[in-house]
């Protein structure tokens, strides 16, 4: 027991590989930002479909949300990496291959667009209808009302509520290591195979993610509270 404990606390191995591991963490962040950008834009699109006046468009938005919100991250990543290129290739009559990084970003972007769509929709529906009516009575077109009146309020309202989704998304970026994107977790597994010392390496990885999520989550929450208090 005490031997294992000493082994865990021996962070020397983890420190020895700090340059490689830090690069891996950088890839985690790249995947995170790529997937966030994709998820936010797709989510906004789906939310606008869901509040549309035309029933088929609404149904399409609901379908998008229900599929991607209920899809497990790992299943989606594997599907996008191995099936999507084949399907698109068949349609275009070419051979297509996605690199693992792109697959990871697309898959996570799709999955989390479902969550963001719901947050956006709740935000859109929370805008008082008087605001929209007032803008319309001034002669603003539908597009203008959306961009000038509705969306600015939605963004401010949704930030505090979507912090948990951002955190889940960041945590999910570790899964891309399973399709050989060289992120922190992938590198930790590789080093473990070489060094045969899983204890300090896996514990170190867990602590690194723990620290990042804890610090980023606390900071974001404090920031969002202040921003919301200032604006609304």
């Amino acid at each position: 027991m005490s031997d294992s404990l000493r082994e865990i606390l021996d962070v020397g191995v983890f420190w020895e590989y700090r340059a490689i591991l830090l690069q891996g963490l950088g890839i985690n962040f790249l995947v995170f930002f790529g997937a966030t950008a994709l998820a936010l834009s797709l989510g906004l699109g789906a939310a606008l479909l869901r509040v549309s006046r035309f029933r088929p468009l609404r149904a399409l938005g609901t379908l998008h949300v229900e599929i991607f919100r209920n899809a497990p991250d790992y299943v989606m990543i594997v599907w996008v990496h191995f099936v999507l290129p084949l399907l698109i290739g068949t349609l275009l009559h070419t051979r297509l291959e996605l690199n693992p990084f792109a697959s990871g970003v697309i898959a996570l972007g799709l999955v989390y667009s479902g969550y963001f769509a719901e947050t956006f929709r709740a935000g859109i529906e929370a805008v008082p209808s008087g605001h929209v009516e007032a803008a319309r009575s001034l002669g603003m077109g539908e597009q203008l009302v959306l961009w000038r009146i509705v969306l600015p309020q939605v963004v401010r309202r949704m930030l505090p509520e979507s912090i948990n989704v951002f955190i889940s998304l960041f945590k999910a970026t570790t899964i891309v290591s399973l399709i050989a994107v060289p992120d922190l977790m992938y590198r930790v597994s590789m080093i473990t195979q070489q060094e045969m010392r899983p204890l300090p390496l896996y514990t170190g990885a867990a602590l690194v993610y723990f620290a990042i999520v804890l610090v980023a989550g606390t900071a974001l929450r404090a920031f969002a509270e202040r921003w919301r208090a200032k604006v609304i």
Binding site: M1, S4, L5, E7, I8, E66, I67, N70, A71, P72, D73, Y74, V75, M76, V78, W79, F82, V83, L86, L87, I167, K171, A172, T173, T174, I175, S177, L178, M185, S189, T192, P198, L199, Y202, T203, A205, A206, Y209, F210, V213, L214, G217
Partner: protein, 226 residues
């Protein structure tokens, strides 16, 4: 259509066996997560000297990615505690550990939302602390957090896809095995994804119905809104 029959329908036994393992892993870790989550929550709220360690544990469980936790439990715990000694047990433990952190916070919110008067009334008619907790607090907490508890179950099902990484033969493992034999991923992976999405959709839909009917029959938990 031929491919679907050859690759999916003819492999149904392997897939169903995998689905069974998935369901077993999910149910075991869900039950364990509720028990451990409640214990963590009570220790955090009522056992003063252990409060700080409980908070650290809850935050650690919540803030670590499930894949990291799975590998951590699988490789580090056996050395450290001599347990879990099978991949199946490691999978259940990792999933339970993650969810217990979330559930502990859910339960705490539920307990804190109960008006103080309920407890005072129970004490004033002579109920002990334990009895008050069992008869007054616990039922209300379980009712009001029913939606979050069901939601946590869907999170467990989603995370359970990762146990295939440590060679637990769940649905994901079986379908990847078939892909590796047949080298034709389209049908089998699409079917697997559809199975998971359908399964999780049904679970969350049924959970919502259950939570709604509980709310209607007992009139508690309305603070969650409609």
């Amino acid at each position: 259509m031929n491919n679907w029959e050859r690759l999916v329908w003819n492999q149904r036994e392997a897939l169903l066996a995998g689905l069974q393992v998935t369901i077993e892993v999910c149910l075991i870790s869900f039950a364990a997560a509720i028990v451990v989550g409640m214990a963590l929550c009570l220790v955090r709220m009522y056992v003063k000297p252990l409060r700080a360690p409980a908070i650290v544990l809850i935050e650690f469980f919540r803030a670590t990615p499930i894949l990291v936790q799975l590998l951590w439990v699988n490789y580090v715990w056996p050395e450290l505690f001599g347990w879990p000694n099978t991949f199946f047990a490691a999978a259940c433990t990792a999933l339970a550990v993650q969810s217990s952190g979330y559930l502990a916070e859910t339960f705490r919110a539920g307990i804190e939302a109960i008006p103080k008067g309920h407890r005072e009334a129970a004490y004033s008619v002579g109920m002990s602390h334990a009895l008050t907790f069992r008869r007054i607090v616990l039922p209300q907490v379980l009712l009001s957090s029913a939606p979050s508890i069901v939601n946590q179950f869907t999170v467990i099902v989603k995370s359970s896809t990762l146990v295939s990484v440590i060679t637990v033969q769940d649905l994901m493992f079986q379908s990847q095995k078939i892909v590796n034999i047949a080298y034709e991923p389209i049908e089998i992976l699409t079917a697997t994804a559809a199975l998971y999405i359908g399964f999780i959709f049904i679970v969350s839909f049924a959970g919502k119905l259950l939570a709604d009917s509980l709310r209607r029959s007992y009139g508690i938990g309305s603070r969650h809104g409609t």
